[in-house]
């Protein structure tokens, strides 16, 4: 244990995801030795992110205003919503430039082990967005693991009576990789999701 303030810093850093006690200690001593101006910039960034960034009222993505950049953009297709687990998934899909619709960020996936049920996700908000019938397609882009699949199935069943088109991202082989290096699970899923080749 170190003196009060140093130990406080180590404790706070240790609460961050992926930071164990050893890393927390290393980061703390790095900060102690660092240029005061650098540390000030870091602390300002931390305060600012809490003051300025909030979550989009419509889709739950991180935003600096009431609505996020995507929800404010009039060129985006109002009729398609892509459902993802986290804001970082929005960033990943945006990078592809494939998708011109809007998003809905759930804030996680159904996982009873972690005590996360449908009521803990932004599902009610999604249903409100679908209520007026303007949305015609829902793309379920939750993670390709058991919890993501369970969440996608839950949503698909929930919206079924509304009669809109529901699609799920194909989980397949990573592009640019060699077939022989794909692991069996990915390769197995890719086989299951194979489609007719139109020529």
């Amino acid at each position: 244990m170190y003196e009060g303030v140093v130990q406080n810093l180590i404790d706070e850093l240790g609460r961050l995801p992926g930071v164990g006690p050893k890393s927390a200690q290393r980061i703390a001593f790095h900060l102690l030795a660092a240029d005061p101006a650098d540390v000030l910039r870091l602390s300002q960034a931390l305060i600012e992110v809490k003051e300025k960034v909030r979550f989009c009222k419509t889709c739950g993505n991180v935003a600096e205003e009431e609505l996020c950049r995507i929800c404010r953009d009039p060129r985006r297709d109002e009729n398609v919503i892509c459902v993802v687990e986290e804001s970082k998934d929005v960033v990943a899909i945006e990078k592809t430039r494939e998708f011109r619709g809007k998003y809905h960020v759930l804030g996680g996936a159904i996982s009873p082990i972690e005590g996360v049920g449908p009521e803990d996700l932004r599902i009610r908000e999604l249903m409100q967005r679908l209520a007026d019938g303007a949305v015609t397609e829902l793309i379920l882009a939750t993670d390709p693991n058991l919890e993501g699949e369970a969440t996608a199935t839950y949503l698909a069943r929930l919206v079924k009576p509304m009669g809109l088109t529901v699609t799920r991202l194909a989980s397949g082989l990573p592009v640019g990789g060699d077939l022989e290096y794909a692991d069996e699970v990915t390769l197995g899923r890719a086989f299951e999701g194979r489609r007719l080749l139109d020529v």
């Binding site: 159904i110 009873p112 049920g117 009521e119 058991l146 369970a150 199935t153 839950y154 692991d183 069996e184």
Partner: protein, 384 residues
């Protein structure tokens, strides 16, 4: 395939050992407690990523050491692969293939295939149903590495579902529509992943059936025939002859999904009341029978032992039919057998590409198994 070289660092009683091995028979002989089983346990670990003796990895690390390292050179079709596993207790193991890191240990499953006979195998016959499920599932994984993923997915589905059922049971009022819809979703997951596992097990039992009967008859020519029956926790049993019975060994995966979903719907009230998953492949049983009687609870010690050998021999036959001889490991098995069974077992295993035998005294290595001999004493191994 065969293991051409084994090197251990801080594994069990070994601080460091280097061992060159050849195809054919190698016998490891030495008094009790000298480290014979420890050697073959290390080779088995490389094949299955687990010990045949203990469920956790901690006992595998030499007392006082931070980690253990097992290196094996495996020769298959004249090509040599170097597999290295660093066993870290409480953390993920580090695995390397030909000196390159392998991100997930399970990607190495199938690089070395072993069939290990050990005194612990008696539990296959006398122990809980879990022992026999593990026998089937480990063999499935050796034959089809993809099944490692299916098994871990299935375990996770059951854990998720149990967590949900437990919280439903704890509420002590009728579960709301959201809870029931969530349970429906996990029912589907269990039915889908469970059907994949179940279909693979049924196919395996169908393939093993004649092989086990044949192997048992070879080891123990007198007495009843050895039979396998798969009993599902909700779908009933296969019949002994694969005709009639509630569950056919040839039932396909799509049909099993439907059957499992139906069974889960029926069991729902009971599951909600008890707060655990009561149906699915994790509750199934592989029934072993000798003639008219179940082996468990009825078979003699020698009969049980022969049945266990029959199961392992059948596994060997099956892997062998897939194309490549697995490495056979016989840990202390001959001491338990009478002269006739000893000779017949030796004759059955002798043709394998590589056979590793351990025995406390030279007389326990049958004459049919001629080959290299190593003396094991006090943590060192010397070729004789």
């Amino acid at each position: 395939m065969y293991v051409a070289h084994l090197s251990l660092a801080d594994f069990r009683s070994y601080a460091a050992v280097e061992l060159a091995l050849e195809p054919g028979v190698s016998a490891f002989v030495g008094p009790n407690g000298q480290g014979k089983t420890n050697l073959v346990e290390a080779i088995g670990y490389v094949a299955t990523h687990g010990s045949h003796r203990v469920a956790s990895d901690a006992p595998l690390i030499r007392a006082g050491a931070p980690r253990a390292i097992v290196r094996t050179g495996v020769v298959k079709d004249d090509r040599k692969a170097l597999i290295e596993i660093e066993i870290n207790p409480g953390r993920a193991n580090r695995v390397r293939l030909n000196r390159g890191n392998v991100p997930r240990p399970r990607d190495l499953v199938g690089m070395l295939r072993t069939v290990l006979f050990a005194p612990e195998d008696l539990a296959l016959v006398k122990g809980d149903p879990g022992e026999r499920r593990r026998f089937l599932d480990e063999l499935l994984t050796l034959r089809t590495p993809r099944m490692a993923g299916v098994r871990s997915d299935y375990d996770r589905v059951v854990k998720q579902r149990n967590a949900l059922l437990k919280s439903a049971a704890a509420q002590r009022r009728t579960p709301g529509p959201e809870m029931l819809a969530t349970l429906d979703v996990w029912d589907s997951q269990l039915a889908n992943v469970g059907a994949e596992l179940l279909a693979a097990r049924l196919e395996l039992v169908a393939a093993l059936r004649p092989l086990v009967a044949g192997a048992y008859a070879n080891v123990a020519p007198t007495g009843g025939a050895a039979e396998l029956t798969y009993k599902s926790s909700l779908l009933g049993s296969t019949s002994r002859t694969d005709e009639g019975g509630d569950l056919e060994l040839s039932t396909g995966r799509a049909q099993l999904v439907v059957m499992l979903e139906g069974g889960l719907a029926e069991a729902r009230q009971q599951e909600l009341a008890r707060g655990v998953s009561l149906v699915g492949p994790h509750r199934d049983e592989l029934l072993l029978r000798l003639g008219e009687l179940p082996a468990r609870g009825y078979a003699s010690h020698g009969e049980s032992w022969s049945f266990a050998l029959g199961l392992r021999l059948a596994a060997f036959d099956l892997l062998r039919a897939d194309g490549d001889d697995p490495v056979l490991i016989l840990d202390d098995v001959f001491a338990e057998l009478d002269a006739g069974r000893r000779r017949r077992l030796a004759e059955l295993v002798a043709p394998a590409e590589q056979v590793l035998v351990t025995a406390a005294v030279p007389a326990d290595v049958p004459a049919e198994l001629k080959g290299a001999s190593y003396a094991v004493a006090n943590g060192s191994v010397t070729r004789e």
